[in-house]
């Protein structure tokens, strides 16, 4: 080791990170000092403003980004090469920020619950006690959720931009911890929610341990945490390859846990079901985007030269994930659990794209690259999922949200618009043409097939058929089945949720009909900067 060199910090390029973390800290301060009745408005406005400014900055950075080698890559490595602000990072940042904006809108929704938010009045009050009743009658509201959300967003921004194993771990933890907490804050069915939070936390902490152990092993192999240096070591076959392989395996466990890939998916249905629906919507969409960004960078940059070692593993995981997600989804009777298993299946589809990496020399000019396909898929998936969960929040009865599937029967008559929008999101997830899901599926399948992974694509098609059955079952229940009893009622949302749903539906439709611009943007992002 040489003497310490002060790293160069490119403040402009890191501005989105700084803004979001700054807003999060500011939110904590507001929570401490502002009077209670002002907090809700202050927090919502602050969060929205912070995210919007960050989004604008991302666009500005992307416009001025330095271009290498005829547009093959763009951006810079900052803070001594630990954070890469390159094309894919900027794409993912933009996507995460938009999803987070929509998430804030969902968090802020108070109309659906009859004037209160979806979060517990006082999380510290035990369920069923006098203290809880007091908290709910006096109309308490947990506005801490906004700073928590902003911290999670900060972690999500850091995670895919990390170009260094330690930075990646920091990102992973910063995004996870607030989410564990948010999951336990549901206003209704609090025990279920707290159980979900505990389960998520325990399993998450466990998987972080795996991740960290893997980091240590890879460091032992390469002598560096930096992705470029690891890549160099891998290419030169510099050390004990057992260390490397075990290290890759252990790191993968941590990352696959975050994206919910089988066999590390077990938390997904419980957490998605138990968490407050706005949290589920945000988490399902944004966490997956961030975690896949990290997976892409880690495997393409750090372990890119050793892809013969990890591609077979990815094949197995992808196949397993798709089948498990699709098959187990069929047996579900709860809409949120069903969407959770469907998100597991989608993880498998995205992995199908991830394993479709090819050497640049094998690609025809104009052919879709694996990175481009996965980035596009993440966008389609994020908006469809966000929208679908937002719709779930609308269907209610006197006891809160109704998520039992048989109670959704007859929704098509009760509210044709809501049922239609939900059906549209389901069709998008099923990959029906003219929705974004179809183009996404086509893109990831074609890169996988081009990389010779035809068995994975074959399984993906089988899984798609199984999953299609599932989505159609829900659509049939909504339109053609007779309601049980009075049937569900649809609460007309305020402009906040309505905006989110409209955004999700509009993006899903637009990316289905005219996916060109976003595909081009994902292509323009170029390769990862090494």
């Amino acid at each position: 080791m040489n003497e310490f060199v002060k790293p160069v910090v490119d403040y402009f390029e890191l501005l989105p990170l700084l803004i979001v973390s700054g807003v999060a800290c500011l939110g904590v301060v507001i929570e401490a000092f502002a009077p209670r009745r002002m907090r809700y408005l202050a927090q919502v406005v602050l969060a929205l403003a912070g995210l919007s400014v960050a989004l604008v900055v991302v666009v500005l950075i992307a416009r001025d980004a330095k271009v290498y080698a005829d547009g093959a890559a763009r951006g810079i490595l900052s803070v001594g090469g630990t954070i890469a602000v390159d094309g894919p990072t900027l794409f993912l940042w933009g996507l995460i920020l938009v999803l987070a904006l929509a998430g804030v809108l969902l968090f802020a929704e108070r109309h659906l619950g009859g004037g209160v938010s979806a979060f517990a009045g006082q999380a510290a009050a035990l369920p069923g006690t006098e203290a809880e009743r007091e908290a709910s009658t006096s109309g308490l509201d947990h506005t801490e959720v906004y700073p928590l959300l902003m911290f999670a967003v900060f972690g999500m921004l850091l995670f895919p931009s990390a170009n260094d194993l330690l930075t990646m771990f920091v990102g992973l933890e910063v995004l996870s911890l607030p989410l564990y907490l948010l999951c336990g804050l549901a206003r209704r069915r609090r025990l279920l929610s707290q159980e979900a939070a505990l389960k998520y936390f325990l399993l998450g902490a466990f998987s972080s341990g795996f991740f960290l152990y893997g980091v240590a092993l890879v460091y032992g192999y390469a002598g560096s945490m930096n992705f470029a240096a690891i890549n160099e070591a891998v290419r030169n076959d510099a050390g004990n390859s057992a260390l490397l392989l075990i290290g890759i395996g252990l790191i993968s466990v941590g990352l696959f846990f975050k994206v919910g890939a089988a066999p590390f998916h077990a938390w997904t249905p419980d957490v998605y079901q138990g968490a407050p629906t706005p949290v589920t919507a945000f988490m399902a969409a944004a966490t997956k985007v961030a975690a896949f960004g990290a997976i892409l960078r880690l495997f393409y940059v750090a372990f890119g030269s050793d892809r013969w070692s990890w591609q077979p593993m990815m094949w197995v995981i992808a196949i397993l994930t798709m089948l498990v997600g699709a098959i187990l989804a069929i047996t579900q009777t709860d809409v949120k659990r069903l969407l959770a298993y469907s998100s597991v299946a989608h993880t498998g589809f995205i992995l199908t794209g991830v394993l479709g990496i090819q050497a640049t020399s094998d690609l025809a000019p104009g052919e879709v690259t694996a990175l481009q396909a996965v980035l596009f898929y993440l966008a389609t998936y994020g908006f469809a999922t966000l929208g679908a969960f937002a719709v779930v929040g609308l269907v209610r009865d006197s006891g809160g949200e109704v998520t039992a599937l048989d109670r959704w029967a007859g929704l098509g008559k009760e509210s044709p618009v809501v049922a239609g929008v939900f059906a549209f999101f389901l069709l998008a997830m099923a990959g029906i043409p003219l929705t974004s899901g179809f183009v996404g599926k086509l893109a990831v399948f074609s890169v996988a097939l081009a990389a010779g992974a035809w068995p994975v694509v074959a399984v993906a098609i089988i899984a798609s058929i199984i999953a299609a059955f599932l989505y159609i079952r829900v659509i049939k229940a909504m339109y053609f089945d007779d309601p049980i009893g009075d049937g569900p009622t649809v609460v007309f949302p305020s402009v906040l949720t309505a905006t989110t749903i409209a955004l999700g539906a509009a993006v899903t439709l637009m990316l289905g009909v005219l996916p060109g611009p976003l595909l081009d943007l994902a292509g323009l992002a170029g390769q990862f900067l090494r």
Binding site: V368, P433, F438, K441, F445, S446
Partner: protein
């Protein structure tokens, strides 16, 4: 006219119509829907007459880049096959709308406005399928047809329609997703050759290695076999036609199912000729099984609408057989068959639908015959349509069936021999169906028919053994009992108006199929040269082919 995007306009008219009617009040919606369907037909007819030349090849083409990142184009064009299918669609939709004038209100809970809007949406998507010349675009609209079809089946029809609609959609989606594998495969092959594209013209120029070609073929063929439908993936068909309204059935069987055989011609033969020849033995056997099995099962049906649905299985077997024997007679016969089957089966479905509405049941056993006397026009129309399905000479399906059978004999004597048996079987199901449903003394008092129908029907069926026929459960509108024969009305002017053009076409094209063949033959010549086969096997071609083409 040549500068206009003729096909785009043709697709846009019903699409706009669907959107407009969806927002109109119910009583206006039907009329507006009919106007839009009529406009589509008029535009299609004008385009066919003025802009289409009989030289063959793709015509009326339009090509615009759509998704450049994937090499996807919005590309339209029709050849002889496409033109006929487009026109068939444009003709049948207004007929269906008129035929379903009141039915949608009675059998559905969403009202006729929704019905009309979905029908027009289905028409637009079907027209796009038949004119797409980009595989991606084809796939998109191929799948998009399912959405209106799903809601037409599930929203309107008899009890149990939701289940039937789901079954239909699952089958079709499964086929579609399997085809997606092949569509992506084609893209990857084109990318590997250096020019990623979905355009048919680019893909046809590719040199695909035999093994890949076979895999791609299997993907396409399974999808089209489900669509067509063929044995053993036909099981959605009868359930669907039983539960849906007859108007929907017409659109499904006569228009949508044609996409299956259309796709076989366009993609299997057009893009993967070597693999198509490789698969011929299997496909021919499956087609023969479909022909015979479909007819046999049809004979055993008690539900009139199931029966008619299953006859189509037999007919599609003929079409597929004609396609895969690789001779110009077979191909001409098949394409002609696609048109004739569309017309004939539409007429049969509509006539059966009128009968079922009058009877209040679709069960032949419960109907009890006797319609001939009180409703002679209905009975006559039904008879002509049934005979057309059976391939009676003088009616147009005969010509095409003959061509296909001759081609089958050319291909292998056993194939022809097995196919010929279907003529006998078809006569049995057609005539026996007519006899049981229409003739006989008539059911004098069938008010309690659902409890004790046996004696009456045995008498009506004249000892053909229907009395011992096992009762088929789930008979249509189970709660309504059959209506006494004496109170039946004959067809009214609206109903006659829907059947008359179809029956007229059956007779005219039966005696004079040349206009159709003029459109078909250049296309068949193109196809034959694509596949790289020629006729002229001297020992069989001479006398037979000349007879087949001219005797009518």
């Amino acid at each position: 006219m040549s500068d206009l995007p003729v096909l785009s306009i043709l697709i846009a008219i019903p699409l706009v119509g669907a959107i407009v009617t969806a927002f109109l009040p119910a009583h206006l919606a039907r009329l507006a829907g009919l106007v839009f369907a009529g406009l589509t037909l008029a535009w299609g007819a004008i385009a066919a007459v003025t802009s289409y030349s009989l030289d063959g090849g793709m015509q009326l083409t339009e090509t615009h880049a759509w998704i450049e990142a994937l090499g996807v184009h919005y590309a339209l064009g029709v050849d002889g096959l496409g033109l006929l299918m487009v026109l068939l669609t444009a003709v049948l939709v207004p007929v269906v709308l008129v035929a379903s004038w009141h039915e949608a209100d009675e059998l559905g809970n969403s009202g006729s406005r929704t019905f009309v809007a979905w029908v027009l949406a289905l028409e637009a998507m079907s027209l796009a399928v038949f004119s797409a010349t980009d595989v991606f675009l084809f796939y998109v609209v191929f799948e998009a047809t399912l959405i209106p079809a799903y809601f037409l089946i599930g929203g309107f029809g008899r009890i149990g329609r939701g289940r039937a609609a789901t079954k239909f959609l699952i089958y079709q989606l499964a086929g579609g997703l399997i085809m997606l594998g092949s569509v992506i495969g084609l893209y990857v092959v084109s990318a590997n050759s250096g020019n990623p594209s979905f355009l048919l013209s680019d893909l046809a120029a590719l040199d695909i290695d035999p093994i890949t070609q076979r895999w791609l073929f299997v993907g396409f063929f399974i999808a089209f076999a489900i669509k067509a439908p063929m044995f053993p993936v036909h099981t959605w068909l009868a359930d669907t036609t039983e539960k849906a309204t007859t108007g929907t059935s017409v659109l499904l069987v006569c228009v949508l199912d044609k996409i299956g055989t259309f796709g076989m011609l366009r993609f299997c033969l057009g893009l993967l000729p070597d693999a198509s020849q490789w698969a011929t033995p299997v496909v021919v056997v499956l087609a023969l099984i479909s022909i015979v099995y479909g007819a046999l099962v049809a004979i055993g049906q008690d539900d009139l609408l199931r029966l008619i649905g299953l006859t189509s299985l037999s007919h599609f077997g003929f079409i597929v057989l004609g396609i895969f024997v690789f001779s110009s007679q077979g191909l001409s016969g098949s394409i002609l068959y696609m048109v004739n089957h569309g017309i004939g089966t539409a007429a049969l479905f509509l006539a059966a639908g009128y009968l079922v509405r009058r009877r209040g049941t679709a069960s032949i056993r419960l109907m009890g015959g006797g319609m001939e006397k009180v409703a002679p026009v209905l009975a006559g129309a039904f008879l002509i349509s049934a005979l057309a399905a059976a391939g009676l000479p003088g009616l147009s399906p005969f010509v095409s069936e003959m061509l296909v059978i001759i081609a089958a004999f050319d291909h292998a004597w056993w194939a022809g021999a097995i196919a010929v048996t279907a003529i006998v079987l078809a006569a049995i199901y057609a005539l026996w169906m007519y006899q049981r449903a229409m003739t006989g003394p008539g059911a004098v008092d069938l008010v309690d028919a659902h409890t004790d129908a046996q004696p009456v029907t045995v008498g009506a069926a004249g000892g053909t053994g229907s009395g011992s026929h096992p009762a088929v459960p789930g008979v249509g509108t189970g709660s309504r009992s059959a209506v006494p024969t004496t109170s039946m009305r004959d067809l009214d002017a609206r109903e006659v108006g829907t059947l008359a053009p179809l029956l007229l076409a059956l007779v005219l094209l039966g005696f004079f199929p040349m206009p159709l063949l003029d459109v078909i033959n250049p296309h068949v010549a193109d196809l034959m040269s694509d596949v790289g086969v020629s006729d002229a096997e001297p020992q069989v071609s001479g006398s037979h082919s000349s007879q087949g083409d001219t005797d009518e």
